[in-house]
């Protein structure tokens, strides 16, 4: 299914976003298994995958209505769903292994089938999703239902032929990459060489070959000899989109290290260290916690990377290590609520971020089911809400405003009224079009650019 149209420049604030679809149960009583834990478009944007805490993957396929129109609407409908991971118990280590899908990453399409990697805390799996739309009919020795025919009744010979059947989409696990990680896997990233991928846990990063499951290369190891000396952990990692030798990993201390695998087999020594200097007089108990990077993403053009920490989004130029080129406040009003956010553990929430197709706009989630669109080219930002209240077909989303203090204007919501249980941690942007997928706790919202 071809994408319908090219994106009309910008994507941030000259774009009006409207409701397209919402998936998931309406009731407020959320089962833990239904909590969405990852959302990812494939490389063409035709497929959209979600993973949840119950270890299940649901894949939606884009169907375009009315291809004849220049600007057409599309819909995402269920294409395939399967149980990717099961809960396990490691008896040797007395460790309970959650089935929650931490990340899904698609492989670029090479043939008729689609492939994706899904991972929980310990095991990565390669899944093949293939279509079957015809089946052989007219066997000589078997009836259509499979029973063998009495040989004496066979008097003629026929050639079996393929006849069309109702489309069946099958998901099968092709590889299981187990026992590579002592700590909890937070990231996986497919290399541009289409042969290898990396997986990162709190202290180590491994590189795997997609065909080989019984061994992997350790490329980063930050485990100290004495665990008492542990000061930082790896929080995210990603391969460069074009340079197969380059990857980055972020830390709980707010630093990003860029590594070049050509330099040495073990990349403990970084090629570049990205860190914004901090004013020591501003340092507080919370400084390190809120500087912890929860997500790192390269831009599509490979020249920039974006990091998300608790309160902000930063854009880094890969050629400049000493500070980001752009910093955007996501929800600065939370700075005066850090005490309660620490007490209710929200300060440890890991928000993700994403780029639009031409790297001009970035998006990230917040609380109260708010999400933020940050337009780099126009230097403007908008706060939108994923809510069942704005679910009329093609309803345009109204910008939301939070009142940090003082007199609350009409249509503003005060910081104390925000629902901190409604977090948008996972969002994804179609690689070419202005279509976004926003995950609330257990619902998936799809918004599209308003078409006239």
């Amino acid at each position: 299914v071809a994408a319908g149209f090219l994106m009309s420049g910008g994507g941030g604030n000259d774009v009006q976003w409207c409701f397209s679809q919402v998936k998931g149960a309406i009731d407020d009583d959320v089962a833990e298994a239904d909590i969405i834990s990852t959302v990812e478009f494939n490389h063409s944007g035709e497929l959209l995958a979600t993973g949840d805490k119950g270890g299940r993957v649901v894949i939606f396929q884009q169907e375009i209505e009315n291809k004849s129109q220049q600007q057409c609407r599309s819909e995402y409908n269920v294409y395939s769903t399967f149980q990717s991971h099961e809960p396990e118990f490691d008896y040797l280590k007395s460790l309970e292994i959650e089935e929650k899908i931490n990340k899904i990453r698609w492989l670029p399409q090479k043939n008729a089938a689609q492939f994706l990697l899904s991972t929980n805390d310990k095991t990565i799996k390669l899944w093949k999703i293939s279509e079957r739309d015809k089946r052989p009919e007219g066997y000589n020795l078997k009836e259509e239902d499979g029973r063998y025919r009495d040989a004496a009744t066979i008097t003629t010979l026929q050639v079996p032929v393929f006849r069309p059947m109702d489309l069946m989409v099958e998901a099968s696990p092709r590889r299981v990459f187990a026992n590579g990680h002592t700590y909890h896997i937070n990231s996986i990233s497919v290399n541009s060489d289409n042969e290898t991928y990396l997986s990162a846990d709190d202290l180590r990063i491994n590189m795997w070959h997609l065909e080989i499951t019984d061994r992997s290369f350790n490329i980063v190891d930050i485990k100290p000899a004495n665990m008492e000396e542990l000061t930082e952990v790896i929080t995210a990692a990603e391969f460069h989109p074009h340079q197969c030798n380059t990857f980055v990993y972020s830390s709980s201390k707010g630093t990003i290290r860029l590594c070049d695998m050509r330099a040495s087999a073990l990349c403990d020594k970084h090629s570049k260290l990205f860190e914004e200097p901090e004013d020591p007089s501003n340092r507080s108990f919370f400084s390190e916690i809120i500087s912890s990077i929860s997500d790192v993403k390269f831009s599509h053009n490979g020249r920039y990377m974006m990091t998300r920490d608790y309160l902000s989004v930063k854009i880094w130029d890969l050629n400049m290590e000493n500070r980001p080129v752009e910093t955007y406040q996501v929800h600065e009003y939370l700075r005066s609520k850090l005490c309660s956010l620490y007490e209710n553990d929200c300060i440890f929430d890991k928000f993700e971020c994403c780029w639009n197709g031409n790297d001009s706009v970035v998006m990230t989630g917040s609380y109260n089911n708010f999400f933020r669109m940050l337009d780099r080219s126009q230097r403007r930002d908008v706060t939108l809400e994923a809510s069942r209240e704005s679910c009329k077909p093609r309803q345009v989303l109204k910008p939301r405003r939070v009142c940090a203090g003082g007199k609350r204007k009409k249509d503003e919501i005060s910081v104390d009224s925000l629902d901190f249980n409604k977090k948008i941690l996972h969002t994804a942007w179609h690689p070419q079009e202005n279509i976004i997928a926003v995950a609330t706790t257990n619902n998936l919202y799809i918004f599209q650019e308003k078409v006239n």
Binding site: S94, E96, N282, I289, K337
Partner: protein, 96 residues
């Protein structure tokens, strides 16, 4: 731009220290990281459990503390205390 006023972050820090005066001197450091690395740890020694079961018969077996997330070897959970990890047989509600 730095104001002459105390930063909101420092005000929040003061609030936290007032509530928890024994809060670690090493903020965001080893304790938090170690807690993160130990996620999922449950202690169950089948040997101890079976020995205790054999000895005590009718007596109450040592049970885990009510706070099941507490990481300590002192508390011996029984198999009944460990939450049942069943396979997810229900389809995702997103796929309806």
């Amino acid at each position: 731009m730095q104001d002459a006023v105390v930063s909101p972050e420092k005000t929040e820090e003061a609030k936290l220290k007032a509530r928890y005066p024994h809060l670690g001197t090493k903020p965001g450091g080893s304790d938090l990281l170690r807690k993160r690395l130990q996620k999922g740890q449950k202690y169950f020694d089948s040997g101890d459990y079976n020995m205790a079961k054999a000895k005590m018969k009718n007596k109450q077996l040592p049970t885990a503390a009510a706070e099941k997330t507490e990481i300590t070897g002192d508390h011996i959970p029984t198999p009944q205390d460990l939450p049942q990890r069943k396979q997810s047989l229900v389809a995702s509600k997103l796929a309806v």
